[in-house]
């Protein structure tokens, strides 16, 4: 029984931390640049494809991961300079429209280059088995993912809370005009934030690739969850993104694990299996709506 709880807790943690990688970039872009970027999920997808392609070419997962993340960062730079810079001044409707168009382009471009079938991405051979932790077993690769997530969270904390750049980022999220007036190179800051967000997306995509599948449209479902996370956590707040993603990750995993078992007391197995995860999702969106209604600025407001 303890193994079960332990394992499910780790699963929730793993899912939550990967969501965090996505949410962190999104919350900064949304918080500082006030830009709704629906194509954030596409950056995740393209990043995963870069990693998978590079890993196949180099026949090494780690090289692939590094190359893929670097490639995504470059793509992010190109997009920021060409498109997003124009979008910051626009209203939300324009941003939604343009980034929706970007999703269409990204999905189709990926399909053109790599075909409609998913790409294969395997974890490093050394990590494809379980590890034993005090009598309990857990997949080694998932532990590595958790480690990456924790490392990124730590790094972001240091960056945002302890560095000058981080101070600018927090200032920008709290009050953009004032930060600009104080002489911070806001334009450069925006670019840096966007590129960093793209890199984080690619990292998440590359890490999750072996567990899920590298396929067209993989960004759409995860994008929505990322928005939920940043709304719950508070737009512009890294801490909020972390807390939000852990909440969402846990609820989702519990929903898939616990609810069907509970519902089976009242329903046949297949009905319970349909209802369980759906209830968990409804719960997550209910939480999002509640936050928007009662405390729209989120759990950890960044805005002044």
């Amino acid at each position: 029984m303890t193994q079960l709880v332990f394992e499910q807790a780790l699963n929730g943690l793993q899912f939550g931390l990967m969501l965090f990688l996505l949410a962190a970039g999104l919350t900064l872009v949304f918080g500082i640049m006030d830009c709704i970027n629906l194509a954030h999920g596409s950056l995740y997808m393209v990043g995963a494809y870069f990693v998978a392609a590079a890993a196949q070419a180099a026949d090494s997962f780690w090289i692939g991961l590094g190359a893929g993340v670097a490639g995504a960062a470059v793509l992010g730079l190109v997009l920021e300079l060409s498109l997003f810079r124009q979008l910051y001044r626009r209203d939300h409707l324009s941003q939604v429209l343009a980034t929706f168009g970007l999703i269409l382009i990204a999905n189709e471009a990926v399909r053109m280059i790599w075909g409609a079938q998913p790409l294969l991405l395997n974890p490093p051979d050394a990590l494809s088995g379980p590890v034993e932790i005090g009598g309990f077993f857990y997949p080694a690769y998932r532990l590595v993912i958790i480690a990456f997530g924790v490392a990124v969270a730590g790094l972001l904390y240091l960056l945002v809370a302890r560095s000058r750049v981080g101070m600018w980022v927090r200032a920008g999220a709290a009050n953009r005009e004032m930060t600009e007036a104080l002489g911070v190179n806001v334009q450069g800051l925006f670019t840096a934030v966007f590129v960093f967000g793209a890199a984080l997306c690619a990292l998440a995509g590359g890490l999750l690739g072996p567990l899920l599948a590298v396929q067209v449209g993989m960004g759409e479902s995860v994008l929505i969850l990322a928005f939920v996370v940043i709304i719950i956590g508070g737009i512009g707040s890294i801490r909020g993104a972390l807390v939000g993603s852990l909440i969402v990750g846990t609820v989702d995993t519990l929903g898939r694990a616990l609810l069907p078992t509970l519902l089976r007391a009242a329903l046949p197995a297949d009905a319970a299996a349909t209802l369980g995860p759906a209830l968990a999702s409804i719960l997550i969106y209910l939480l999002m709506a509640a936050i928007l209604f009662f405390r729209p600025q989120g759990l950890f407001p960044a805005r002044a």
Binding site: N11, P118, P139, L212, A213, T253, A273
Partner: protein, 388 residues
């Protein structure tokens, strides 16, 4: 993906009492993207290979195959089927991989009085009460391969089995089929979402149940991920995996590799079957596509041969539905799996074999035929079919 394999137009048959077509149009709707894409691509490639071998003809008439991707979506499949039937006016339809999509598309096709030759989906609904003269399945009825595994697991004496299957008509058929022959204890029936890729939560639950065997039906990408994660979680030490051939064929083997060695699975076909049609099929498939065919490819290939044989029989007069139906039922083609016949509900009556994943003579990891589980096995629903 609309691919037009058009051949030269030639006026062939002279006037008969029924107008003879000048070419055969086939509407091919399948899953060509997403985790199930491998299956659809294999069926399509097998189908196209047969037509290529027939010089681009079916039954002596030029063949036009219109291919479209249903994106594993019943809504999309329905729209495409509508288009094929009403705009392109196809003579046959085929290609669907998943049974939920088949059930969504079926009524439209039957209403239009067009024959559907299923190269994969074999829902129990169409084998029993809802059987329809316009539906043929050249592969198997969904339950069959699972029944074979169930018998094997029962015979081997396993007592505590967990079943993992996706929550859709094909998955339900898998469970019924397996339980029809496995009489031991089923610790749990775990239903996953169709298209699900991350099984961490389910695997943790399974570990807690401590089964001695696990029977899973997860075709395509779902199965690949499941097996990889199963091994990664360390469950392969204590629990033996069993699956129908769907989850142990070339696509999964290529992705998973060595951890799959020793996995027993059931199938109606294997690439090392010893008959001239199969040898030719396997050799040509490898030459054309650079990979070993899976059972899905063999089904697509057989579907094309079936259409070819029937059209030949009616001498191209595909508008005569009654004659065409008789021709299809007569099964005038040689299948790569050996001999079989159609039952009164248009599903095959055939043998089912045991295969095991191992190394072949060349050191490649692939399936090997081990023996026969069922001989001349019919599906369990035929008695409920009232088709004349």
């Amino acid at each position: 993906m609309p691919l037009r394999l058009t051949a030269l137009a030639a006026a062939l048959m002279l006037a008969g009492s029924v107008h003879a077509a000048d070419r055969i149009k086939v509407g091919f709707v399948s899953t060509l993207s997403g985790p199930g894409a491998g299956l659809g691509v294999d069926i399509r490639d097998g189908f196209n290979l047969a037509i290529k071998q027939l010089d681009g003809k079916l039954g002596g008439l030029p063949a036009e195959v219109i291919v479209a991707d249903d994106q594993q979506n019943p809504d999309m499949a329905k729209q495409t089927a509508d288009k094929f039937l009403k705009k392109d006016k196809v003579d046959f339809m085929t290609g669907i991989v998943f049974s939920n999509i088949m059930l969504a598309v079926g009524p439209t096709v039957f209403e239009n009085q067009t024959f559907y030759i299923s190269a994969n989906a074999g829902p129990s609904q169409y084998a029993g009460e809802q059987c329809n003269p316009f539906f043929f399945n050249v592969a198997w009825q969904n339950d069959n391969l699972h029944e074979a595994v169930g018998k094997y697991v029962q015979d081997k004496g396993f007592k505590n089995v967990v079943i993992v299957t996706p929550n859709y008509p094909g998955g339900k058929d898998a469970v019924s089929g397996f339980k029809r022959y496995y009489k031991g204890k089923v610790a749990e029936e775990v239903y996953t979402k169709l298209g699900q890729l991350d099984y961490a939560a389910e695997l943790a639950q399974i570990r807690a149940m401590k089964p001695d065997a696990l029977f899973f039906f997860l075709p395509g990408g779902m199965g690949i991920n499941f097996v990889k994660q199963f091994v990664a979680a360390g469950l392969s030490r204590d629990t033996q995996l069993f699956a129908p051939g769907f989850s142990a064929d070339e696509d999964v083997i290529k992705a998973v590799g060595a951890p799959m060695m020793g996995m027993f699975n059931s199938s109606h076909w294997a690439h090392d079957m010893d008959n001239p049609e199969n040898k030719r099929f396997v050799a040509d498939f490898q030459k054309e596509y650079g990979r070993m065919p899976s059972l899905y490819a063999s089904q697509g290939y057989d579907a094309a041969l079936m259409i070819d044989g029937a059209v030949r029989d009616v001498k191209g007069k595909v508008d005569d539905k009654g004659a065409l139906q008789k021709a299809l039922e007569a099964k005038h083609f040689k299948s790569v799996r050996g001999d079989f016949r159609f039952n009164s509900n248009h599903y095959p009556v055939q043998n089912y074999y045991l295969r095991v994943v191992g190394k072949d003579a060349g050191g490649r990891i692939t399936n090997r035929m081990m023996g026969t589980i069922f001989t001349n096995h019919a599906d369990a629903y035929v008695s409920a079919c009232r088709m004349k």
